[in-house]
């Protein structure tokens, strides 16, 4: 029997040491990110004075296209006309700092997802009463700590700069008689209004954190006490979280991302964003386990556990592709202008600046993981898993970029130092806080009732 471990669970504890060397490196990374960000912001503020004319000229062209759409059904005119009527207010109120806020929002949403998926993964394993994952459950268990950073950022950006991100927050869109009055948005204001939005964010965010704290406390107590009583309680917390998360993940998908394109809607969007979050979270869990193994920790996690993580990533990459494609196919097939504008904007709109990332989105998130992780051997080999993790994580950053940027920035988006710096800063902060949280408990949940089963896991 391969990998027959003689690891005895009761007397072994393993503690992750967050070395000062490692801390230093992450802090340097964070500083480098911030420096890149500042240079990026400086260039942005300089570049905008020259770029204004281009933007104004583009605006004229859009207006012309709008008129063409009203008189004739010319395909090109219809496209730009749709884009213009889609978000006229954003065009008029555009300010170069918008790109910074859009980036903060993008990263905060992305990393909120990764953090909360840690909690979701552990809950799911408890709900299924799965044994194999008990060897590595301390890794995802540490992720939700980062919610203490991202949720306040989301709240602050919404509170102070919400009108930059969201069309429905623009002044006067729901007031009858205002020049900005928008009948469609006014019809949605029962759900999309500032008070209810903040209530949902704080309410569900608080429930997430409370449940995570309960789970974490009980889980650490289990290390000291043992027995099966705590396990039953953890199952209950897991079930409660799954129910809450089923509701809140969809609502946050509508709130944080779908409502950016306020006129547009898709009934698949909750699933779409959840699947994107989930597969990224799985890739980050796998990558963390692999990196810990490279450092000499977690010798009891063998290729069978990695195989299961690989299967998870493979399956949920395909699940994401399935949801993405289902959403696309229905819109493409039905061909309603008010729906197709979403994809046209990303494919052909704004001088095609989003087209490359739309292609990369499909390549990185479907074709590459599908081909790399298809064979059994690849799922059991660390380097192939790492390659797949790289594609999935960067691919889903692009996916969120595609969900958020075209709606917020329109023709002013792009990939530059601002994007790079902001992503680096957020990543380093995430790594630092999760590593710090990992040191607070034994890396192996030594009294987990299923641990002996997990140590003999063989597939």
């Amino acid at each position: 029997m391969a990998g027959h471990s003689h690891f005895s669970p009761a007397n072994v504890e393993e503690h992750f040491e967050f070395s000062s060397e490692g801390k230093k490196r992450i802090i340097y990374g964070f500083i480098a990110g911030i420096v890149a960000l500042i240079i990026g912001i400086y260039l942005l503020s300089k570049g905008e004075s020259g770029g204004h004319e281009v933007a104004a000229a583009g605006h004229e062209a859009v207006k012309a296209g709008h008129e063409a759409a009203n008189t004739g059904h010319e395909a090109a005119g219809h496209l730009s006309g749709g884009a213009a009527s889609h978000q006229p207010a954003a065009e008029e109120h555009y300010d170069w700092t918008n790109r910074i806020w859009a980036n903060v929002w993008l990263n905060a949403v992305f990393f909120t997802g990764i953090s909360v998926i840690g909690m979701f993964f552990v809950s799911l394993q408890y709900l299924a009463k799965a044994g194999w994952s008990s060897v590595l459950k301390r890794v995802p268990e540490a992720f939700p700590k980062f919610l203490y950073v991202t949720l306040p950022i989301l709240l602050a950006v919404f509170f102070f700069k919400g009108d930059v991100i969201f069309h429905w927050m623009h002044h006067g869109v729901t007031e009858v008689g205002s020049e900005n009055y928008d009948k469609i948005i006014a019809g949605k204001s029962g759900y999309l209004n500032k008070t209810f939005f903040i209530a949902r964010l704080i309410g569900f965010g608080a429930i997430w954190l409370i449940l995570w704290n309960m789970l974490r406390k009980k889980s650490l107590e289990e290390d000291l006490v043992g027995g099966t009583e705590i396990f039953t309680k953890l199952v209950r917390i897991g079930v409660a979280f799954i129910v809450i998360f089923g509701l809140s993940s969809s609502m946050f998908a509508w709130d944080w991302v779908m409502s950016i394109d306020t006129h547009w809607f898709s009934t698949m969007f909750g699933w779409y964003m959840f699947s994107s979050w989930h597969v990224t979270g799985l890739a980050i869990i796998t990558l963390t386990v692999l990196l810990l193994k490279d450092k000499g920790y977690m010798s009891y996690v063998n290729e069978n556990h990695l195989h299961d993580l690989g299967k998870f990533m493979f399956a949920f990459s395909i699940f994401w592709s399935y949801v993405w494609f289902s959403q696309f196919l229905l819109i493409y097939y039905a061909n309603f202008p008010e729906e197709t504008i979403y994809f046209l904007e990303r494919w052909e709109g704004h001088n095609k600046i989003y087209k490359t990332s739309e292609i990369l989105n499909i390549l990185f998130n479907f074709f590459f993981p599908f081909l790399v992780l298809m064979t059994r051997d690849a799922k059991r080999t660390r380097i192939f898993l790492k390659i797949a993790c790289f594609f999935i994580i960067s691919g889903h950053y692009i996916d969120f970029y595609q969900m958020i940027m075209p709606g917020v920035l329109g023709p002013h988006g792009g990939y530059g130092l601002v994007e790079f710096g902001m992503l680096t800063a957020f990543s380093c902060a995430f790594i630092y806080i999760v590593s710090d949280e990992l040191t607070k408990a034994s890396l192996v949940a030594k009294n987990h009732p299923f641990l002996p089963e997990a140590l003999h896991h063989d597939i």
Partner: protein
């Protein structure tokens, strides 16, 4: 399997014992043909040293064939033979065809795999079951050793089986 007296069968009554017996018998230089059990035993394949099945490769090939066939059919009917405009799309409306292509891939994979499995295991409708010892369908585990393919004498093999914990040793 007709009765040729070529097979020595070690009968065991415990799954753990047969699993340990496999490595014990093998360590004496005896080649084991197969172990028959009423249910799958974890780790038995690895202990016997069987090569992994190549069915996944067959599955991939059948999948590719299904993909090509589905695309060929749709292209022939919708683009070449009788072009039709549906929903204002091009004749070659690839996104519309993805579900059908997927179904074709899955269908070919499923049928191809079942057929390959049956052929490689010599299974067909009306096939007479070849059972060395009826009790392997109940509560006994049988290790079969082909004498012709072993250099050891029949007596040595019988002794090795007895030593490894077989409750009885038969010749068939």
């Amino acid at each position: 399997m007709s009765s040729t007296n070529n097979y020595i069968l070690g009968v065991y009554d415990d799954e753990d014992e047969v699993l340990h017996a496999v490595s014990e018998v093998k360590s004496k230089g005896i080649k084991i043909e197969e172990v028959y059990t009423p249910f799958p035993i974890h780790g038995l394949d690895t202990a016997l040293g069987h090569a992994r099945t190549r069915l996944p490769i067959a599955a991939f090939m059948f999948g590719c064939l299904g993909l090509v066939c589905a695309q060929a059919l749709i292209n022939y009917t919708m683009v070449f033979d009788w072009p039709m405009i549906i929903g204002g799309k091009d004749f070659f409306a690839l996104p519309d065809w993805i579900p059908i292509t997927f179904e074709g891939t899955v269908l070919f994979t499923a049928f191809g795999l079942v057929t390959t499995f049956c052929i490689s295991n010599d299974l067909y409708p009306g096939k007479k079951p070849e059972i060395l010892d009826l009790r392997i369908t109940d509560d006994r585990f049988v290790m079969a050793i082909n004498v012709d393919k072993n250099k050891k004498s029949a007596a040595d093999i019988k002794k090795a089986l007895k030593d490894s914990g077989a409750v009885e040793v038969n010749v068939k």
